[in-house]
């Protein structure tokens, strides 16, 4: 691991100020930003050991746990989830479990108990892809690490790679689960930065790879996620996160679905659908929702919904199975949600 200076920030202001002292060189991948915040460290330290990340400065922000960034609060407007809350704490919280089962399940089905005790919610949504070509610096071709160098995954072993939201510059999968629940529920972000605080829709945080996969999010240099605001969605009590993977526990998704249903008898009044394991960024399947709303939840409707969700899929040599797996995952998730007893 390369040397760096470790500093501790006791306030949001000092964290942002220290981070902003390091200028981001132009045409540099965000993964190579010279200064990084650390909370749990489960992504950062792993990638520093692999030499994928090479910060000169690491800023420990764990002291912010004593601010509202360390709190979970359910109010009339919705759920506040502090960015420094650990995954396990949020997953176990009775208000989260009861009102937003898909959030609780997306966290509990991720990683291992130890990692969930360490990893913060803010860091979780910013976790980096598990693309093996990105994580192994002996492959020189990676547009995410080195702009314009190419993509080894396009013609490589791409079984784990994305089929939605991809470009011909990058097909790396967004690996997270929690983000699918946030995007399904129209969550907002509270962000601090050098120019003060702002709020942003969670769905605007991650950028599709497009022509510049090395720019992963819309966060400006120095910006720090303070909290997530999940709106009150009373019918989200009927929601779940279904995750399909190579082994039953402690594994990333091959395909997953975060679904919520507002039912009137067996007719769907409203729905939310997000898909994980198959996409380059957190993925809201709005066309699929539109196919579902106002219809009875029968086999014909479920098939239409699944087809709509994957109509834009661009499979490669080894990951074509994800299209069919993703459809079946979504159908099963919707069926399970419709039979939940509330």
């Amino acid at each position: 691991m390369r040397p760096f200076t470790l500093s501790r920030a006791d306030t949001v202001q000092s964290a942002v100020q220290t981070q902003s002292e390091f200028e981001m060189p132009s045409n540099t991948a965000t993964v190579h930003a010279p200064s990084q915040y650390v909370a749990g460290g489960t992504t950062l330290i792993d990638l520093m050991k692999l030499d994928v990340m090479r910060p000169q400065s690491v800023i420990d922000i764990n002291a912010l746990e004593r601010t509202s960034s360390g709190e979970i609060e359910l109010g009339s407007r919705g759920l506040h989830l502090g960015a420094l809350v650990r995954m396990s704490t949020a997953a176990d919280h009775p208000d989260v479990r009861k009102n937003y089962p898909m959030i609780s399940q997306s966290l509990e089905l991720a990683a291992s108990p130890q990692i969930r005790n360490m990893a913060s919610l803010g860091g979780n949504v910013l976790q980096r892809t598990r693309c093996t070509y990105f994580r192994d610096t002996s492959y020189s071709a990676c547009n995410k690490r080195t702009p314009g160098s190419g993509c080894a995954a396009l013609e490589g072993i791409n079984r784990m790679h994305a089929v939605l939201g991809v470009s011909d510059r990058c097909i790396a999968t967004y690996p997270g689960d929690f983000a699918q629940a946030l995007i399904a529920l129209d969550a907002q972000l509270e962000i601090a930065g050098p120019d003060g605080s702002r709020t942003m829709r969670f769905s605007d945080l991650h950028r599709p790879p497009g022509l510049s996969p090395h720019i992963e999010t819309t966060l400006a240099p120095g910006e720090l996620i303070l909290a997530f605001m999940v709106p009150a969605v009373p019918w989200a009590k009927r929601s779940l996160y279904l995750k399909i993977r190579d082994r039953q526990s402690y594994e990333f998704a091959l395909a997953s679905a975060a679904v919520a249903l507002d039912l009137d008898g067996d007719t769907v009044r409203n729905s939310r659908i997000a898909l994980g394991g198959v996409s380059a960024l957190p993925w809201r399947a709005r066309e699929a929702e539109q196919k579902l709303n106002g219809r009875k939840l029968d086999d014909a409707a479920l098939n239409d919904v699944a087809e709509a969700a994957f109509v834009q899929a661009q499979p490669r040599e080894h990951n074509a199975f994800k299209v069919q797996l993703g459809k079946l995952t979504l159908i099963r998730a919707l069926r399970q949600a419709s039979t939940m007893e509330l």
Binding site: M1, R2, P3, F4, T5, L6, V38, G40, G41, T42, I45, D46, K49, L50, D51, V58, D60, N62, S88, A111, S112, P113, Q114, I115, N117, M118, T137, S138, Y139, S140, A141, S249, Y250
Partner: protein, 181 residues
């Protein structure tokens, strides 16, 4: 130039690590198993390396060093974490408990340690300190109510000898004794 596995087998480093600058060592205090330790560490030192190489507590094991195997599991403020994915300096002001801290001062083993022996819950033993630390936390978290839950909440600890059925038996025995204690 793309490196291949063959190049790697020759032991050529991809990156030459820079030497730690001795002027830049961090002076930190870690509270481990109830005792304070003053250490001068390079900022890159993980909690795992601090425990093993600087404090001499080698019970905590280094498996993958990337947060995938669980061999390095310790408790920080009674929560189980991976010591390989945390810089030592980030743990100042917190209580670290390692496998060496479970045994009573008179030498009596922790019920979980005894249960691993009683149920032959290991073969080579390399993953065992991590398994035991994780299992103690698993019981305290109330995530050991039945076999399926024990398997799910112990999934962060890999055992290449596949002693899993015996580990589940050990946790089931120890959880009863831990409640009584």
């Amino acid at each position: 130039m793309t490196m291949t596995l063959l190049d790697r087998a020759r032991g050529e480093p991809v990156v030459q690590a820079e030497r730690p600058d001795s002027d830049a060592l961090l002076n930190i205090k870690l509270r481990i198993n109830g005792r304070d330790h003053r250490l001068a560490l390079d900022g890159r030192t993980t909690l795992l390396d601090a425990l093993r190489d600087h404090v001499g507590l080698t019970g905590t094991k280094k498996g993958c060093d990337h947060g995938q195997c669980g061999a390095c599991t310790v408790l920080v403020d009674n929560r189980r974490v991976l010591s390989c994915l945390s810089f030592a300096a980030m743990n100042e002001g917190h209580d670290v408990t390692t496998i060496e801290g479970l045994v009573k001062s008179d030498g009596t083993l922790h019920p979980m340690q005894q249960a691993f022996i009683d149920h032959d819950a290991f073969q080579c033993g390399y993953c065992t300190p991590g398994q035991i630390m994780s299992a103690v936390a698993c019981v305290h978290e109330r995530h050991a109510e039945n076999d399926a839950q024990i398997r799910e909440f112990m999934s962060g600890n890999l055992c290449r000898c596949a002693a899993y059925p015996n580990i589940v038996d050990a946790v089931n025995q120890a959880k009863v004794q831990m409640k009584e204690a």
